[in-house]
Symmetry: C2
Subunit: 447 residues, 2 copies
């Protein structure tokens, strides 16, 4: 039953007439693709075939998958890889990683093995508290609201009992509620902060439901004579989770470091600590340094069906918490010990969301032995630290470019090299600086 495409409204933008399509979301997947092909002269009919080629072979899986998001026309592929040999808190893991960037999985695996032979990663989780807020204006003396809130706090919290039942059974629930005033607003804005423990769930839906319920209760029970002064702006969880923290650490004696890529353990550790110091001092470097940590973190976050935008926002804002954006990791040499550590706010879940719904996320969690949220936090932070170790190691020894370009064949692919040309090129550039134009020149002289 094909629906007619209805071009809804025509608007004029200067000289240009723009046609809007209405009801696109209601078209079938095939019709959506057909419309696109009609719109874009460059998409030929193979496009349709190509998109079908991206789907799960199981019909049932694909149908479920299509409900994750809206207006889907296919499945976008990202390489699904594995970094074996992670030893974390005495347990061994082969970690699933989803990432399109070359060298990341290789670097993680290399660092994992290096540290497995030196005691592995040790982690700690100081706290797992998450927060949400109701923001509102109040058009009278605020003491009126304050005394209402103090008196009715119990009743307000009790109104969420039905939402809390499951979470409390699992040992979580509401930890606290408090009233605050936002600093330096021209006209005062207030917030109610709710602290919660969401156990193994990321908890966004749970927190938002609690907040909206609390807001409704307040509107309901505020006495008539002051009810209209309460002007809620919004109610929402916070992706800033500075109290949902995990630390991961590696350390060993300098003598155990051995010589690393041609540097003595003394020179390597000195240069390593300097490189981290640069990322403490210079925000321009800190951004790239932390990006490297997130290469590892996000790969695990994606693989396990978690939300990488939430984790990115949380970690980078945490890096700026002291007023200057800086490195999330720390390195030091104390006595004859080298220590490298990271502290990250990672609000991850292992139940709910897509964790069980995405067939590959489910497989990732199986590969990790069905971790609880805390264990997943430990694994993820350790992969971030491994990644950071690998990047700094390359930077201070061979240089990122030499190591990096060697690894990835993208450049050869792009230049249309065949297998034998690829091998010749890799051998030739073994001890040379790789650049696009140098590889291009090399390939040209082969022809």
């Amino acid at each position: 039953m094909a629906k007619r495409l209805s071009i809804g409204r025509t608007v004029f933008e200067g000289e240009i007439r723009v046609e809007l399509i209405t009801g696109y979301s209601k078209l079938s997947k095939n019709e959506k693709i057909k419309w696109l092909v009609d719109q874009c002269p460059d998409l030929n009919e193979n496009f349709h075939q190509d998109l079908l080629g991206t789907e799960f072979s199981s019909r049932e899986k694909q149908e479920r998958f299509d409900q994750f998001s809206e207006n889907t026309i296919g499945n976008f592929h990202i390489p699904f890889g594995v970094a074996p040999n992670f030893l974390i808190d005495g347990q061994s893991f082969a970690v699933p990683m989803v990432i399109e960037e070359s060298s990341v999985v290789a670097a993680a695996a290399k660092s994992a093995k290096f540290w497995s032979l030196r005691g592995g990663f040790k982690t700690a989780i100081p706290s797992v508290t998450k927060r949400g807020h109701i923001y509102f204006e109040w058009d009278k003396e605020f003491s009126l609201f304050e005394s209402f809130f103090e008196k009715q706090k119990e009743r307000i919290l009790n109104s969420t009992l039905d939402l809390n039942r499951n979470m409390e059974k699992r040992g979580g629930g509401i930890l606290g509620i408090k009233l605050e005033t936002l600093k330096s607003a021209k006209e005062p804005i207030y917030r109610i902060e709710l602290s919660v423990n969401t156990c193994d769930a990321m908890g966004a839906n749970y927190i938002n439901s609690l907040l909206e319920r609390i807001n409704e209760t307040i509107e309901e029970i505020l006495p008539a004579e002051i009810n209209s002064f309460y002007q809620p702006i919004m109610a929402i969880l916070s992706n800033s989770t500075p109290e949902c923290l995990v630390e991961s650490k590696v350390s060993c004696k300098l003598s155990e470091l051995g010589s690393v890529d041609g540097l003595t353990s003394h020179d390597f550790s000195h240069k390593f600590v300097k490189a981290v110091e640069v990322a403490k001092l210079d925000p321009s470097r800190a951004v790239t340094h932390n990006k490297g940590i997130m290469n590892g973190v996000d790969a695990v976050v994606l693989a396990t069906g978690n939300d990488f935008r939430a984790i990115e926002a949380s970690c980078h804002s945490y890096a700026a918490r002291d007023g200057q954006y800086q490195s999330l990791s720390n390195a030091k040499v104390e006595g004859d010990y080298f220590e490298f550590s990271v502290r990250l706010p990672l609000a991850l879940g292992t139940v709910g969301g897509l964790t069980k719904l995405h067939p590959l996320a489910e497989a990732s969690l199986k590969m990790l032995g069905h971790p609880d949220a805390r264990t997943l936090m430990s694994i993820t932070a350790s992969v971030g630290l491994a990644q950071n170790f690998g990047a700094i190691r390359s930077l201070i020894t061979t240089g990122i470019q030499r190591g990096h370009m060697k690894m990835h064949l993208n450049i050869l692919n792009q230049l249309g090299a065949n297998k034998s040309q690829e091998e010749l090129a890799i051998r030739y550039f073994e001890d040379k600086v790789v650049s696009f134009s140098a590889v291009q020149a090399f390939l040209q002289q082969l022809n």
Copy 2:
């Protein structure tokens, strides 16, 4: 030719014996998967079949794809969707978005249409400069290096001529080079900053190659008597790109806003501006607010084969540039005009990297009419702004939870509802607060 799995070394971690695998990266894909299944009691043989079911149907595509990253065992799927009706600088786009989170594409499409009828998105790109640095220590009076650097600057830059050839042909290249001292290091650390224009490429390889060449040249031409004072720490591009900026803006008369979800244009715009003000004042809110912008940005970044970790790092650190992490977007009412805008540092590429290698990224760029990097910056920032508009609109009217939970059927999927139960549930919760436990209770009473 099957390779034997070699368990390389056995290490002891307290009581636990850990077996490391060596040579995992050299195994074939099948052997890699087999090893995983052997390791994880929970992965049965279907796992192998499932992974094969994720691959491209074209052998050639899959082989190329497998070279993007290391240790790949399959392709991880993320929904590939489309948000039509984006009117940006007078041009109409159906924007490809890759995102696993529900409601994001729907919200982008809804905001796109809303603003297409009100003039669309207007963008500007003040500058596209990117930077890279060489960090080093200098063990003598620094004036010695300074005078060397001033005298030899020309020669140092000339040593990169072969690397610059292609970029200069396209109108890019090196814009400047300068010497700086890092503030507040105990022992002084110095940096050389290189500014470049990388045209339509993201440019990471190019910048890193330049920096490593410059470092080599300095080491080569520093006079023998001061050569050993130069101690390079590292050379690397910066993902902090505060001078590679794009602004996107929507605006209209208050009267053109009309009534939005039950609020008059006056009340809507007042509440909207307040909501953005909260994200200026309160970092806890700003993180979530910007996360919403990045939902849109990253979806386009992924779809076009760009690196979302780089874009995340750049944007969030930019949000902290004034010492307090805050909103990346701004809203105001001036006279009878409503204006909403965002400014983002987006170092995107439309050539190089995976843009042409990933078959679906290539399709995305076709859908967008082969944009140059500037146009892709404009599109991406506009999708971020649309996303932010949609999120704030929901938050200040129906509430995120009511809107959000309605949209996504994940919760019903998770609870194992069948099609008819789904429909009943959606109808029942039309005007109610959706929570996991409420939906669970509803489904139970259906049985």
